[in-house]
């Protein structure tokens, strides 16, 4: 399945775009998405390790499953306020 991962802040600057399109196997989980992301954009490796991921605007665990209809996002450590 195709997933469009939203990226922000330093991740967005590294990618040069606000998203990364990834090809994942059906039934992929957040941990699989991380692996695919680092393979696709190796420069993100360090930041991925320190980032959270969200599915449909909720923080997700590594074991949470992703479907094509989901809105998926990489959330580097936040610094609002």
């Amino acid at each position: 399945m195709k997933v469009r991962l939203k990226v922000f802040a330093a991740a967005k600057e590294i990618v040069g775009l606000g998203y990364v399109d990834l090809e994942l196997t059906d039934g992929a989980r957040v941990c699989d998405l991380k692996t695919a992301l680092v393979q696709c954009v190796p420069e993100l490796r360090a930041l991925v390790g320190r980032s959270a991921f969200a599915i449909d605007q909720r923080y997700a665990s590594d074991s949470d499953a992703i479907s094509e209809a989901c809105e998926v996002a990489m959330i580097p450590p936040v610094s609002g306020g």
């Binding site: 939203k6 922000f8 802040a9 330093a10 967005k12 600057e13 930041l47 320190r50 980032s51 959270a52 969200a54 605007q57 909720r58 923080y59 997700a60 665990s61 949470d64 809105e71 996002a73 959330i75 580097p76 450590p77 936040v78 610094s79 609002g80 306020g81």
Partner: protein
Amino acid sequence: MTGTYGLVERAIRHCQILETVLVETMISIVTEKLDTQKLLESVSSPKSGASVLFVGTTRQFTGQRETTFLSYECYREMAIVKLQELCDRAQEKWPIEKCGIVHRIGEVAIEEASVAVAVSSPHREEAFQAAEWLMERLKQEVPIWKKEHGVDGGQHWVHEGSVIEPQGGSA
């Protein structure tokens, strides 16, 4: 208008009547200057005897490092959901009357406000506690990012926080 966009979105998400949301809780992410007075007025209530307004502003110096301005970026859809969730959690934790949060994104000059939180309650202790808690959780959980722009022309994203746990650690 950015503020209205956020409110409408929340109304849809929470399946509530728009009017109710507007009356109850001001939550918005804006690109223009923050209207802190409007936020303070939004928490006014005959049932409350205390209102606390917190305003976060761009500080010029952090130790020896001089900042020219800050810029903020957000994951808008999720930030609005999280801000509303924080207000709901504050309402559960303390007997507060009303609360609201506005965050500015884009460039924020020295002395200008990037964030404002307002809480009203019958007595002052809860208003202070809830306002401080809302700011602390906002800085831990809400997907908004700050970039520092220094006098030397250097700039960097602030990603100092630890990894966010799923469910956003309802501490």
